[in-house]
């Protein structure tokens, strides 16, 4: 089965109103070509789940600037002033989540877990509306899993089956999101033949990758 498709074919899988996970950390590990293609198509009312909203001109921040996003679930918006402006003026709903909690929510979503208990956020506004559970006299918040319709990932080396290696700090949320979406699309910086990646170095099993696009050099 050929998983390699064009940017147009990839972006056509995203419909208005869908929930999209985007891998990356302040642009590093973002699937830049897929983001640009999504900006060009103008798909709107998206819910974005990502570590941060990057920068106005770099990475997934462009989707915010282009007003394609209805809601963002993220840990940090400080590097993209447009996200803050849209949040203050009520144009975009922004849900701020502690970074470790966000990572674990995505992991739980992709791992078949119904949630998890974390001490992070106890005694802060993060605990509002959440169930508190005491285990061995320590308080925890019950945090629920996150899932998405589509995950857009930035892979470094990807074989034609979808086995993915993420170089250095491009890894971040990418392998977690690969497990948590219905449709998983990896933008590959380099596409190689099946078998060329040492199996020990595969961070996302090819079986969970639905489509591959060739990265813009």
């Amino acid at each position: 089965m050929n998983k390699i498709i064009s940017y147009e074919q990839a972006i056509d899988k995203i419909e208005d109103g869908m929930t999209i996970m985007i891998g990356g950390f302040l642009g590093v590990g973002n699937p830049h070509g897929l983001i640009d293609a999504l900006v060009n198509k103008g798909t709107k009312d998206l819910t974005i789940i990502a570590n941060d909203t990057a920068f106005p001109q770099i990475g997934l921040g462009k989707l915010i600037v282009n007003k394609q996003v209805k809601k963002v679930i993220t840990s940090h918006i400080g590097t993209n002033k447009e996200t803050g402006r849209q949040m203050s003026e009520g144009e975009t709903e922004v849900i701020l989540v502690p970074q470790g909690t966000l990572a674990e929510q995505v992991r739980a979503g992709g791992s078949g877990l119904g949630g998890f208990l974390t001490p992070t956020g106890v005694g802060t506004i993060v605990e509002e509306g959440k169930q508190k559970i005491t285990i061995e006299s320590k308080e925890y918040l019950l945090e629920l899993p996150l899932k998405a319709d589509v995950a857009l990932l930035g892979g470094s080396t990807v074989d034609k089956k979808g086995n993915t290696f993420y170089n250095k700090t491009t890894q971040n949320f990418n392998p977690l999101m690969a497990m948590a979406a219905e449709i998983v699309i990896v933008e590959a910086e380099n596409i190689v033949e099946i078998g060329e990646i040492d199996p020990h170095l595969v961070m996302t099993p090819g079986e969970v990758v639905d489509y591959i696009v060739e990265g813009v050099k």
């Binding site: 840990s75 701020l96 470790g100 250095k168």
Partner: protein, 218 residues
Amino acid sequence: MNSKEFIARRIAKELKDGSIVNLGIGLPTMVANYVPEDIQVTFQSENGFLGLGPAPEEGKEDKDLTNAGSQPVTMLNGGCYFDSSTSFSIIRGGHVDMTVLGALQVDMHGNLANWMIPNKLIPGMGGAMDLVTGAKKVIVATEHCTKKGGSKILKECVYPLTGAKVVDIIVTELAYMTVTNEGLVLEEIAPGVTIEEVVSKTDAELIIPEDVKIMNVE
């Protein structure tokens, strides 16, 4: 020496040989410049690695290797990369010995506020809430007063908290203070500064021992 360098140099003296340390963005990052020569510290970066090294030489930046502030960095020999879930297992799981974070406000109960000013500035908490929850020792690095001159060391934080009762040590350009069960203790003052000056610039109540020491950054 400016006040930020002074603060960073004093905090560097808290570093222990063999420890794992996470430094926040901005002033806390400067602590890495003053690690004592006779000890080895491993810096953790929450975007996914242990063994954070200094900035690369110009022209040798690697687009795939940045710190949690997206600045190009290097990795030291023996470092390792991981995903965000493992990164926060390290942080929340008690594997980080010490974290240094900035503050908008910090109070005498050890409460820290550093992620939002309501209706004004809302950058988000990033990894700070997990760090104050999981790190064994939490040090706040901050200038003593705001630009308008108001104390940042308060009786009670007003801004939304990053963590409740999480801070162990507060270091400013004027003082080194520890949060104890009895209250906030003025352990050291900066050279040339009087106890009265520190007290007048501190909103929190300070416990003042008989032997307040002078901060040593040499």
